[in-house]
């Protein structure tokens, strides 16, 4: 599903990582560990194709573009969650019915009350859930999540882990950065990024 060769990145004169070879098969989870500023987010953005100042190769075999949920949830505060997700769906050329959208939102614990108001009134955690709901909108073979558990409460984390497990069972892949262990039956690979001083 994913293969990288000799991935290296220098940012602000500092070598974040080099010679990174990642192999990820269907149904596997990749966890990226490392302290702050060791380039975790940069690595994710390189895999998403958002950051292009790097050496090395990234090869994806996917039928859909990977879905990325970063620190910024990609949600506009003037629009309601439904309107936001409808636009996100349209970005990929699918017009998704409101029913599917509200179903995805409720799967993340956002009931009718929250989905009616503009996202500006929602809390940080709720806005993040709207961003995460994007993952359920359409069949993604790859999820790329940056600190998905931050700002999410305890049972939210369990739901999320359940979602990730289901995604892996469906033969998809997931790449995420997180400071906490993830209890999952599926095979978990992990890379540690040390800030090579």
């Amino acid at each position: 599903m994913l293969q990288t060769e000799g991935l290296a990145c220098v940012r602000n004169g500092r070598q974040l990582f080099e010679g990174l070879n990642i192999q990820l098969q269907a149904g596997e989870l990749l966890r990226i560990e490392g302290g702050n500023g060791t380039g975790k987010t940069t690595l994710l953005r390189i895999l998403c194709g958002l950051y292009s100042e790097y050496e090395g190769e990234v090869h994806w075999e996917l039928d859909h573009y990977p879905a990325y949920v970063g620190h910024r949830s990609g949600v506009h505060e003037a629009l309601t969650p439904v309107e936001n997700l409808r636009w996100h769906g349209a970005l990929h050329g699918e017009d998704i019915s409101d029913a599917e959208i509200s179903e995805a939102l409720s799967a993340l614990g956002l009931g009718r009350h929250e989905t009616g108001m503009p996202c500006g009134h929602l809390s940080e955690g709720q806005r993040k859930r709207v961003g995460l709901a994007r993952l359920l909108l359409r069949p993604n073979s790859a999820w790329i999540l940056d600190e998905p558990f931050s700002a999410i409460d305890v049972e939210g984390v369990d739901d999320l882990i359940g979602m990730i497990g289901a995604q892996l069972d469906r033969g998809g892949v997931a790449i995420l950065t997180s400071h906490q262990e993830i209890a999952l039956t599926a095979p978990v690979k992990s890379i540690r990024l040390r800030g090579t001083e």
Binding site: R11, N12, S52, E53
Partner: protein, 244 residues
Amino acid sequence: MWRWFHKLGSPRSFYLISNRLLPWLGAAAGLLLVVGAVWGLLFAPPDYQQGNSVRIMYIHVPASILAQSGYLLMATAGAIYLIWRIKLADIAMQCVAPLGASLTFLALVTGSIWGKPTWGTWWQWDARLTSTLVLLFLYLGVVALRSALEYRESAGRATAILALVGVVNLPIIKYSVDWWNTLHQPSSFSLTEKPAMPAEMWLPLLVMVIGFYCFFFTVWILRIRSEIIQRESGTEWVRGVAGS
């Protein structure tokens, strides 16, 4: 040809090649400029209309030619950097902007000084001067963007896009300024069409233009070398150069 192109692409080989090239280029520039200036100032005939003030042409025309070709060079270097991501092209593009801007400024100043005896005013919204002014703004735009994105990794790509957008717009701007000029310009002598020149007038001009080109490349290479030393200061070979 491709191998040579890539060999030149690495900053180190560029530095070595320019070691040999620089003295010759610098000497040619100095020689041509001195010969051209003396020839234009002392031996070329005065213009029947403008008298001796036409001698300013020998610096104004080359400066504005270099200002425009400088922008084209910058856009080309930008395109090369965007397409092949050759680091040297980014450095080359970055080094052209201040040089091109100073030559554009020079063209403006000499143009307005030349205008004083001809039109009686320091500034005349003449087509050539106005489009040179716009060219100066385009240069300043590139310099401003480069400094606004100073610590950004992809500042080079951003300035390359701006240079390309600028070079696409340059003919449109030039055409619309010339056309605008015909609307408002009283039909006095304009710097746009060069008067039909006898040989002894355009020969020194040709020498000066070539001299300016040699000068342009000399300074450009000097600036590139200085930027290479800055950017590659961590490498062994630069320390070797510093040590020697």
